[in-house]
Symmetry: D2
Subunit: 366 residues, 4 copies
């Protein structure tokens, strides 16, 4: 949990700016002997890739990942894996206007205050481009998880765009890949398309809520209190650009429940304990219960909009600013694969931590 590192045993350090020559992730602590090629990672990057439809930035980046280290004859060696993605479609000229101005809602002003210097091209390190490195690292995590915990599955989707939520009664996992919003509700997906188009054409943008679910997570991952699985998930999701809230299970709505309603009652099933509900989101006392781990996070609306906003520049002058360039009207869309990647990284990290401390043995029930 250093400035740019995430994880305890499975550790990811991302590096690179929006408009430098490249960006990437240094992934350390990878278990050895796992089959891995660039082709295992690329599909996840392709899902996050910009420019795929009118609802994401028109920047064209192939986002091709290269593995520079840590593999031998197609398997992980247990040494650091360097994942590099070259930046190819940089148009720094787009950013001349904002070199000395602080875009409202952006990190421009805080980077300037903290560091005294700022790579203003595309937001530098605070650009959503950084998330490509996370997705690549998540691809490694997924490949390792597939080898260690067959059946574990991580799925992300959008459950709310702006003021429009999905109807849970229409939830259909098969729909997630069928629309540009990773929306599991096909009716909502149609409504969102019109809604977002209107916002885009009116030079506006909008926020979203993403839900990420991990099924097949073994019971026993996590640790009390500061190494909690949910504590690390909260840090992971909040570390994604533009995220302002994180929920586990019922999340903020848990506040409105009574203890009678909130209790996830337990019965004995053929393969062990079964919970009759999942208000807890699969985590009790910081430790996974074997139920699906459910995490949601809110992404604020894209701050880069063509509607002028009042701000100042580095000389302290008051100005009005519109942010040109190629921006997502709902950056939450591309946050879906990013949230999945973070979930995969956190769960793998805790899997390794758990077998480090306990050897992976489990207390017996029944």
């Amino acid at each position: 949990m250093s400035f740019n590192t995430f994880g305890h045993l499975f550790r990811v350090t991302t590096w690179g700016e929006s408009h430098g020559p490249a960006l990437g992730a240094t992934v350390d602590g990878v278990p050895p002997g796992v089959a891995l090629t660039e082709a295992d990672i690329q599909p996840w990057l392709d899902r996050r890739k910009p420019g795929q439809n009118k609802f994401t930035t028109q920047r064209k980046e192939p986002d091709e990942v290269r593995i520079l280290s840590g593999l031998f004859e197609g398997r992980t060696t247990g040494t650091p894996i360097q994942l590099m993605i070259e930046n190819t479609d940089q148009r720094s000229k787009d950013y001349g206007d904002i070199a000395q101005a602080f875009r409202p809602g952006h990190a421009d002003i805080t980077y300037h205050q903290k560091y005294g210097v700022r790579d203003y091209r595309g937001g530098g390190r605070s650009s959503a481009r950084e998330t490509a490195a996370r997705v690549a690292a998540g691809g490694v995590a997924r490949q390792v998880l597939a080898a260690l915990v067959p059946g574990l599955r991580v799925t992300g989707y959008m459950v709310q765009m702006g003021t429009h939520g999905i109807d849970r009664a229409r939830f259909d996992a098969a729909q997630i890949e069928e629309n540009p919003f990773w929306c599991p509700d096909p009716v909502a997906a149609v409504e969102w398309a019109a809604y977002l188009d209107d916002l885009r054409l009116s030079h506006n943008s909008v926020g979203a809520v993403i839900e990420v679910v991990a099924e097949g997570v073994p019971a026993g991952l996590g640790a009390p209190l500061y190494g909690k699985l949910d504590s690390d998930l909260a840090a992971a999701m909040m570390s994604i650009n533009a995220v302002k809230g994180v929920e586990i299970g019922d999340g903020m709505a848990a506040a409105a429940l009574t203890g009678v309603d909130n209790a996830d009652e337990i019965r004995m099933g053929p393969n062990g304990p079964e919970f009759l509900s999942n208000h807890a989101g699969g985590i009790l006392g910081g430790i996974s219960s074997g139920q699906p781990v459910v995490c949601r996070f809110a992404v604020k609306p894209t701050s880069s909009i063509l509607t002028p906003r009042r701000t100042i520049n580095a000389r302290g002058e008051e100005i009005d600013l519109i942010t040109k360039g190629r921006h997502d009207p709902c950056v939450g869309i591309r946050a879906v694969p990013v949230g999945e990647a973070m979930m995969a990284c956190v769960i793998l990290d805790h899997l390794l931590l758990d077998r480090g401390q306990t050897g992976g043995q489990r207390g017996i029930i029944g």
Copy 2:
């Protein structure tokens, strides 16, 4: 962070169970030369202390903190401060019934699964008693902050109990200390008393939302991406027992905003930049902006209730269980001083991190 440690430079490791001889916190990385005595810490513990009214557990714990190390002639020496709080009112017999049963909503089953062994007395390490150690550590953090950043102020209060929120129009900071709920809305406080009494008498419990605000935080604290101020706040708050959601600024509601509405516009004030709103909760790109840092978290209802719930025991038998003992009908009440403590710890940690990396120098505006 580690299993039971929180923080980078200002590091807190808590230890101890509900029903062992003592619990406490080992606080490392404390700046030297800061005046500190037990009397500086005790008042914060007294605010969290159980048994003060009918709305909190009737367990009577003096929660007297002893400083065992790290001080010399009333000042911090820069070496680890050991804070110890003895457990005095332990009634282990209260817990005989649940020795082999898994209370729904509790960590009983996950501790059992992970560790194979479990200190069932009072929930052991997963007890809310652990938060006393946090509050003590937070007292140290506050004292250091007072020395380093005069004017910095951390305030927590409850903004929602169950289905009842406060009316922001009636917000009066002076009211917070005037009712048992740390409620800034005096009308809501009266309503909540009746509401909670009803729940308590019907053997039920309820959740809550706590808001913690830090005013006077200098701009520039935090770091990009994984060492974000908000990422660490999210981890800190989510690490508190029973917390299920964390929000910064507008939090989950940011999803419903448009970019036009969400932009915190900036004007130039007499002392530097001034923001016209604070949707961001004082943090942009992971770095403090100088605005108040605003964090909210949801606490689920107390899982220990006198209403029977269906569950199983370690033998895999299905049983009905009521949880006797002395429990808070709304554990969120006592989470208020805990949230304040975590906020103080996180901000101090980032203050030290920032002056480590940047020397505390700030970029100039104007």
Copy 3:
């Protein structure tokens, strides 16, 4: 590896000063289910205890360890173990003379320079008393190792006192417990007694070299480069007060060897690879080879002597200073159990790290 923490997964944070009410260690990451009582730890502390003969300080400390947390019904629960040792024989008046003076060879001046404040009583945190906490933590590590790796044995002994080394031809492990110096050479032990007595009576002190060997360490512990087993051993031993050098295997003498001589040739034995020599000290490329892990460290002579030395005080005045009090003429003697404790902690930590990353599986030979 924070200011006062050692270890990755098995993490020890020590706290406390020589003359405060107590000192101790917070031990986190302990595997659950391991039988442990204070009686398992106390014997190791008794070996380090001062005042046992004329060759160690006459301070009388029972050094009784209390376990305040992390156990339930005689077994570790996987939660932090707090080990507390009360200071009972404090004579702060002994230290009045040096309150404002900087004893040569001591940390007085550097603590003063760094922190501006200093607990001068007994050296505060820089006192050799801190090592009691390490020995207690090492007792926990040994108990866990005994459960996880039957047959693993850690043994420390002195191989050089001042200018007098042992004769390896007379090495007899059975002799180690038979003399006050943990000396495996019975002839040397007799010589050292006279030698040290002379030094003590002439108000002088002397250094020593300690060797610690771990037998039965499985192959495969450690990690390339920065998480090397030898790198962590070097840090561990150098972190002990007064240590000035650390060697693995042939250590500094490896510089004088040729490649032909240094090669530990390998043959195939009935149970796998067998090395024909152990210049490497059981570690190749940072990873254990299955041979005995051999580590040596040099302890400088006790700086507190009754012979006057030139120095200055905090007012910048030049003075002559003798250091009264109760001091070890050869502090290296009591460093033997401390070195053993650090070896046990490092090996356990790497055992947990290894099974975290690799699951403890080993590459096949033959």
Copy 4:
């Protein structure tokens, strides 16, 4: 201090193998605003570069460093700096013979045992090539140190080759750059050339001792016990390939000293305290004293030699092996710039840590 990361605030993660496409270092925590270009780093790499004379490996690597991130307009931005060095002169065929054989003295067998898989080409991650990444990171550290502590100077040199030490009476710093051994004694340098030539021609190799001195280090860097400056130096130097011993100040020889001799007496000079000797190597109680920080380490002889040695292969068969390829007869030569780099990294890290905790303020003397 993860598997492949070194440092607390100034953190270096190296990655890459001897025969992969590239290797490098991810450097995090760099203070912002420091002037830095590739030309500032390249000279340090050129000093380490192989193939410069007959005493180092004939592998020809330009070792050109590229900075992929963390700079803007020639200055550090405070975000991660990615340093990449491409491998260009790979001759994997050189290593076909040892694909399944374990070279004595190498990490082949332990990597195989731990990971089950091993990149045998050039030793993979255990190759001395990894040290190029350290030297590049050290170049960044030096540039930052030059900005923060003018006058601080780090110098490394060889003091012993095989059985031949330098004569300290002939020490001449100006000679260090004048011979292929970084030897400060011009007479010794001539002798060593003949000595090493003989060894090389007889298919042998030899070890060495390197000394690294940092002058101008401010007093007050370091921390008690586990975050000691010397503890981190020991870990840093021991993490270099082939290092078997580390000494601070008098090092192992301190064991032979008496307390009277070892005391570095202190007098008051015009600019503060002055020590009359430096047995302590500039570190007391883990904290720098303002004297030169003196560290030595022993490098074992190159294990790759043309003289046959007995060993086994992965099938468990006993074989005789000679190691062809292009190897250094004394790998200690190229360890000189590596030791300097590690010293620079450790001192910068502790400089940042110190100003984090104390604000860089110093206790007053006089």
